[in-house]
């Protein structure tokens, strides 16, 4: 008893007090539901959960023969490949351009953050109308500019890029502002030292800024990766997975299976577990890499 008390009172041991509330809340409201849905993935169950039968691993075997699920994994991976680099590196470069507190930079920061405060409903209805294949404002302007009429939401070749664009449009402001905060926290004495060594702006960025904001880089990379592998609301509000399922992400498909007229909760849980395991593996690998750097 005394020993435990001593640990809790030590500088490092007090950490348990600090993490206690978050751990309890995450346990009750995230992990218990997660375990529940894990159990469900071995059952056949409908949405009302009043008919639950044990189904063994049949849901998992079904998933890997379901072409729509496999397609959704491909779509999700492609989406992440488009979105994550732009969010992590693009936003970093933009942040480096606007980190000084000049009036102009403050203006740019304010503008870039604007989409972040809009709801998915608002963004969805806005882009759907602006990029409408026929009566859309942008569609019309692009056509007037002589670039032809582009069918943004109904061309299987480009619609995923349009969805990725809207997703980036909506959230790159967060990434940029988080980077700006991190860059501003880098001690200016390091820059001064670099300047004395004769480093130019670009060299300063690569040799001073980038290494100094590494924790933030990892934060952006991992949250954006997790976020883009779970892309749902933008797809839902714009294309609904179409055309021809080229934008149907895994979570969109899982959601359809779970909450459509004939809900297959068990199957939906199984598919989301496959996704979860994949995200987990990627995260653990990244986490190791991150710790190795530290």
């Amino acid at each position: 008893m005394k020993k435990i008390k001593k640990i809790l009172h030590s500088a490092d041991g007090s950490a348990y007090y600090f993490i206690f509330p978050s751990i309890i809340l995450l346990l009750v409201f995230n992990v218990i539901p997660l375990v529940f849905s894990f159990v469900l993935s071995f059952c056949n169950a409908n949405m009302t959960l009043d008919h639950v039968d044990f189904a063994g691993i049949s849901n998992f075997t079904k998933a890997f023969t379901d072409s729509r699920f496999l397609n959704s994994l491909k779509v999700t991976a492609l989406f992440a490949v488009i979105e994550v680099p732009i969010q992590t590196f693009g936003a970093m470069i933009i942040a480096a351009m606007i980190n000084k507190n000049t009036a102009g930079n403050k203006f740019f920061r304010a503008v870039y953050f604007l989409p972040v405060i809009c709801s998915a409903t608002a963004i969805g209805i806005m882009w759907k109308m602006i990029l409408h294949s026929n009566v859309g404002f942008f569609t019309y302007m692009i056509q007037m500019a002589g670039m032809g009429r582009i069918n943004y939401f109904n061309d299987p070749k480009i619609t995923l890029f349009v969805v990725a664009f809207i997703s980036i449009w909506r959230s790159f402001g967060i990434s940029a502002i988080v980077y700006v905060t991190a860059i501003q926290n880098v001690s200016s004495s390091i820059y001064e030292a670099a300047e004395i060594d004769g480093a130019n702006k670009l060299q300063q960025f690569i040799n001073v800024t980038v290494p100094s904001i590494r924790p933030t880089f990892w934060y952006i990379l991992m949250t954006r990766l997790a976020g883009s592998l779970q892309i749902f609301d933008i797809v839902y509000m714009t294309t609904g997975g179409g055309p021809n399922f080229t934008t149907e992400s895994t979570v969109t498909y899982v959601y359809t299976r779970a909450f459509s007229a004939n809900s297959e909760m068990g199957y939906a849980s199984a598919m989301s577990f496959v996704l979860f395991v994949m995200i987990m593996i990627i995260t653990v690998l990244l986490y190791r890499r991150m710790n190795a750097e530290d």
Binding site: M47, T48, L49, D50, T121, G124, I125, K128, M129, H132, S133, N134, V135, R149, N151, F153, N154, D155, P156, Y236, M237, T238, T239, G240, G242, P243, N244, F245, T246, T256, F259, S260, A261, N262, S263
Partner: protein, 461 residues
């Protein structure tokens, strides 16, 4: 998008209802959640019991005295049509001499409210919902066969196919209230510009294609035909005109899917693909906006499209969806009144009186069913109303009415097939989109669809 948002809400409501039902039954004790709601309910219940007590003593004293009854009536008409419903219900409460009070509750979360109430052995005596609701709440719905004996309503006055739609194995579970169907809308100005008769919409699908080609004007970004691959309900309403129902009972009485080798469906797919390829049908997931913007010659949609076109000032005509190879038919969903198992005999009798009143012409020639039909632009389900002068004078509802009242009414599957939602949402997109986007032959696509549909059908056999 609207359909999607709606489905999010509906599924959320369903999830809700499911859980509320599950939770309260398993916990046994009064659900600590929604405490105030529960209290409210029990208070109401007490009142009802008290009034019942007084009623009983009253009847003993004087048998002729009227018994006051309260009928709880739930529905989900949250739109502007709900205001009209309130008005009519109030009228009934004022007018009826049987001491009946219809206590209406309009809710946007009807599903959730219902299952928690049913699980607690409470709930409304009278309900208004879609005939497909019986696949969810069938256990709580009373057979209403006796309404034609106990009231002055004449079963023969109801269009038979609509009553059939609400019946299963000879038991009628809903009395029709509103017929929801899809119609062909055409833009009269664009017809005129193309040299077509602006007063006459296409009667056949050949005419539809012909008119589409005449109307399309690429230089003005105008298209003749407005078929929309992402609008599953539109696809369902149209495709059954070509190849009839997707799921029916076979000779052995089992459900069977009819996709593979369905030449009617193949014909539709080829027509749609042809119109897209020739540039007469836009490749778009949203035809409503184009129709409202005056950029589209024809489209097929529900009665709600007209209000948008009215505000936009579009000069349009309405007609029934052209008949195809599958012959004359209505493609409808029927909303109707249902008396629940919660209702006592008195409440059931009172609910019947209300339904009777709704469908009966008064001395001044007013009938709530008629008012409702004219105000909301939905066709009548009573033969006598179709003959009515006021009804005949309303060009819009007349255009929506199938003159042949003997024609059958279905929607994409036999009305008793519980998996209808899956056929619409999971199978139909899998036949239209591969044809449009991958250029797959219709026959192959229908073969794949058969596999999908067989899987769904097998769950209900």
């Amino acid at each position: 998008m609207k359909k999607k948002v709606l489905s999010v809400l509906m599924s959320a409501a369903m999830v809700m209802s499911a859980l509320t039902g599950c939770g309260s039954s398993s916990s046994g004790s009064a659900a600590n959640a929604a405490e105030s709601k529960a209290e409210e309910k029990s208070e109401e219940k007490n009142e009802v019991t008290e009034s019942k007590d007084t009623e009983e003593t009253a009847t003993e004293d004087a048998a002729t005295e009227v018994k006051p009854v309260t009928v709880k009536f739930w529905n989900s008409f949250t739109g502007s049509d709900g205001d009209k419903l309130v008005e009519l219900v109030n009228k009934f409460n004022d007018e009826n001499k049987d001491g009946i009070t219809v206590e209406m509750d309009i809710s946007s979360n009807l599903d959730e409210q219902l299952s928690s109430a049913f699980a607690a052995g409470e709930g409304p005596a009278l309900l208004l919902f879609s005939s497909a609701s019986r696949f969810t709440y069938g256990d709580y719905m009373q057979s209403m066969n006796d309404i034609f004996d106990k009231t002055s309503l004449d079963k023969n006055d109801f269009i038979e196919s609509y009553v059939d739609y609400c019946s299963e194995d000879g038991e009628t579970y809903l009395i029709p209230f509103q017929i929801v169907s899809f119609y062909l809308y055409w833009n009269k100005d664009l017809f005129e510009a193309a040299g077509l008769d602006p007063e006459k919409g296409p009667q056949t699908w050949d005419e539809y294609v012909e008119y589409s080609k005449a109307i399309t004007d690429a230089s003005k970004n105008i298209y003749g035909s407005g078929l929309c691959y992402a609008y599953n309900y539109q696809m369902a309403h149209v495709i059954q005109r070509f190849g009839d129902l997707a799921v029916t009972k076979d000779d052995s009485g089992k459900w069977a899917a009819n996709f593979e080798g369905n030449t009617g469906y193949a014909k539709f797919l080829d027509m749609y693909k042809g119109l897209v390829d020739s540039g007469d049908n836009p490749l778009t997931d949203d035809t409503d906006s184009m129709m409202t913007a005056g950029q589209l010659g024809m489209t097929i949609n529900g009665p709600w499209l007209s209000s948008g076109m009215d505000t936009a000032g579009i000069n349009y005509g309405i007609t029934t969806v052209p008949t195809g190879d599958a012959g004359a038919m209505n493609s409808v969903e029927v909303l109707g009144f249902s008396v629940t198992t919660v209702a006592t005999d008195e409440e059931k009798a009172a609910a019947y009186k209300f339904i009777e009143w709704w469908n009966t012409m008064d001395a001044d020639g007013n009938c709530p069913a008629l008012t409702w039909s004219l105000e909301n632009g939905c066709p009548a389900y009573l033969k006598s109303l179709i003959e009515n002068e006021q009804y005949q004078a309303n060009a819009k509802v007349m255009a929506m009415t199938n003159k042949d009242t003997s024609v059958r009414s279905d929607f994409i599957t036999s009305s008793a097939f519980p998996g209808v939602g899956q056929i619409i949402n999971d199978v139909l997109p899998q036949i239209t989109q591969p044809v449009l986007f991958d250029g797959k032959p219709a026959e192959d696509v229908l073969k794949d669809a058969q596999t999908l549909a067989d899987d769904i059908v097998s769950k209900y056999n």
